[in-house]
Amino acid sequence: MEMCHAHVGKPDDGHTGRSRMKQKKEVKQGTLALMVLKTLDVLGPLRGYGIARRIEQISRDLLFVNQGTLYPVLLRLEQEGAVASAWGSSANNRRARFYRLTRAGHKLLETEKRDWEQTAAIIERFFEVKAEDLG
């Protein structure tokens, strides 16, 4: 993941604090992007609000501190060509921006998913290992 500009416009709290903050956010952004892709994959075109709600429901409100953080992630995915967006009208006839997964997005989701599963499997194996297994 590319470096993000989390520190822009915030008071400088020294180097260690800044880098820790950045790290935390980076991890979250990567995971969040994966969740957005998967959500769009399963449910088809959605508004930003719809995506946020769905992720909240599935993660049982554990994930989002602020719903607003979703929008930079969406912009980024759009710049990368993984999602596309267009104006449409919602059920109650209001103008709304709908996001959908592109072909490149599908591919990205597949690779990210594989990577994620691989990492998870490796970590799991490490947790399951006991001292006697190694002896």
């Binding site: 590319e2 416009g9 930003g48 602020n66 719903q67 953080t69 929008y71 930079p72 710049q79 060509g81």
Partner: protein, 493 residues
């Protein structure tokens, strides 16, 4: 690939100055409305629902900042902003700025010019491959010319006699003239009479056809000729850029196997047999590095074409060039001895080809060294001027630095500000200086060989060097700015 795509999108947004502010505002509004409605449905009062929705969304301004950071190229934007600021600051002390920019431009102009010249004269490879292996031997005219210096057997002997040679050739160092018959008339043409190994010694691979062979040197061998590329293009209309000027001698473009006639109309005794073109070779600057390569025709020395050559035959071989197997100068005495024993004439000189070549540009090199000196002086002057302006600016801005630091700016930021100021100055100076030097190089280009007035690599190298010099000159003032003590600076007021 994805990163590239993203960079493109960001670059586009940056250049088009496109910001999705409107879109974002609309999206956020929609989001908040939906969230509020949902809370109301869940039983909250409209006011409370509104409040909770905003809380849940988080700081709208922070999100907007984040979006903006992702959207364009914020770091370039901030650099541009700093430059604009520096520009305004420099305008305040315009007298100093103009002086500094002019000295810099002078330094830059002088240096770019010198760089261009240096590239042309020093960095460019010499025209012959492995020219350090070539040694030129010149025979003096004054010795009796009763014994022909060239004969096939003698050349063979020379080669066998010395293991130091890998090839040797004799040729007229200065081309003679004849004419080329074209239709009813004739055009003057330069001719070089050479021995069979000529192209091998100078490592001139024929571009078409072949070079000369030992068989061509035997008396009675079929009359042949090799053309230089320039001659072929100009006189025979080979694939040339200025087709309309090329008088087409042969309708088809392959000259190999065609026949030509030279020496006609020059009086009795100059008749030459019809010759077959057997090869085309690359151009060589025969008459000195500072002269353009002439179109030239190579004839086998043994095939005496005309009376002039027959008269001159005793002198043929006034120039010999051998290709040695090593580049060491200790072969020179050996070569001298072998030639003394066999040439039956005093030798004028035995010198490495590189020296011959550099002698042909000696005068130009002197003016180049002079120019280098001027260039260096102007560079130093420019750097001193920049140092002066930056020092003055730092002294003037001491209070500003103090305020900024008191408000929490870091010392690195202060040094950075000064360096950016200097960068702007150097940038303006570069623009003026390069424009001036392109003009200058055009004028100098006519005095020097191989100077391309618009060589991009040279221009880039010179610019980088000057930028570094500029930043070096601004380094001390920048350090001084970083050392400003906020308390002292403010107390001075």
């Amino acid at each position: 690939m994805r990163a590239l795509r993203r960079l493109c999108a960001r670059f586009f947004n940056f250049t088009a100055n496109r910001r999705g502010d409107e879109r974002l505002r609309e999206e956020m509004k929609e989001h908040l409305t939906l969230q509020t409605e949902e809370y109301i449905r869940a039983g909250m009062s409209p006011q409370e629902a509104h409040r909770q929705a905003y809380l849940k969304f988080g700081a709208v301004e922070a999100v907007r900042e984040d979006i903006h950071a992702e959207e364009g190229l914020p770091w370039i934007e901030s650099v541009l902003q700093d430059c604009r600021y520096a520009f305004r600051g420099l305008r305040k002390s315009s007298g100093f700025t103009i002086t500094a920019v002019l000295t810099l431009a002078l330094g830059i102009g002088g240096n770019v010019t010198v760089f261009l010249v240096l590239y042309g004269v020093l960095l460019k490879p010499l025209p012959f491959p492995k020219s350090q292996q070539l040694v030129r031997i010149e025979r003096s005219y004054s010795g009796g010319i009763t014994v022909p210096a060239y004969s096939g057997t003698k050349a063979l002997f020379f080669r066998q006699a010395s293991h130091a040679f890998s090839a040797m050739t004799a040729y007229d160092f200065i081309p003679s003239h004849t004419n080329l018959v074209k239709g009813d008339g004739a055009v003057p043409i330069s001719v070089l009479r050479v021995t069979s190994d000529f192209f091998r010694v100078f490592d001139m691979e024929p571009a078409m056809g072949r070079g000369f062979r030992p068989e061509d040197m035997r008396p009675g061998a079929p009359a042949v000729v090799v053309l230089s590329d320039a001659l072929w293009r100009h006189q025979f209309g080979g694939a040339s850029k200025n087709q309309q000027f090329a008088q087409r001698y042969f309708p088809n473009e392959n000259p190999i196997g065609q026949h030509i006639l030279i020496g006609k109309f020059m009086g009795p005794g100059f008749e030459d047999p019809v010759r077959e073109i057997v090869g085309v070779v690359a151009n060589v600057k025969q008459t000195g590095l500072d002269q353009p390569a002439p179109g030239i025709m190579y004839l086998p020395a043994a095939q005496i074409p005309d009376l002039e050559t027959r008269m001159m035959n005793g002198l043929l071989g006034e120039s010999w060039v051998v290709r040695t197997q090593s580049a060491h100068l200790d072969v020179l005495p050996a070569i001298r001895r072998i030639f003394m024993e066999n040439a039956h004439a005093p030798l004028l000189s035995v010198e490495p080809m590189n020296e011959v070549i550099s002698a042909s540009v000696a005068q130009q090199r002197f003016s180049m060294i002079l120019l280098c000196g001027f260039g260096l002086i102007s560079l130093v002057l420019g750097a001193a001027g920049l140092y002066g302006v930056m020092s003055y600016n730092v002294a003037r801005q001491t209070r500003e630095f103090g305020v900024r630091m008191a408000l929490g700016a870091r010392r690195e930021d202060m040094a950075g500000m000064v360096l950016k100021d200097a960068g702007v100055l150097v940038g303006i100076g570069l623009a003026i200086g390069i424009a001036a030097s392109l003009l200058g190089a055009k004028i100098i280009g006519s005095l020097l060989f191989g100077v391309k007035p618009r060589d991009p690599v040279t221009l880039a190298a010179a610019s980088v060097l000057l930028l570094l010099t500029g930043l070096f000159a601004a380094w001390w003032p920048a350090r001084r700015a970083a050392r400003v003590e906020p308390m002292e600076a403010l107390r001075n007021e």
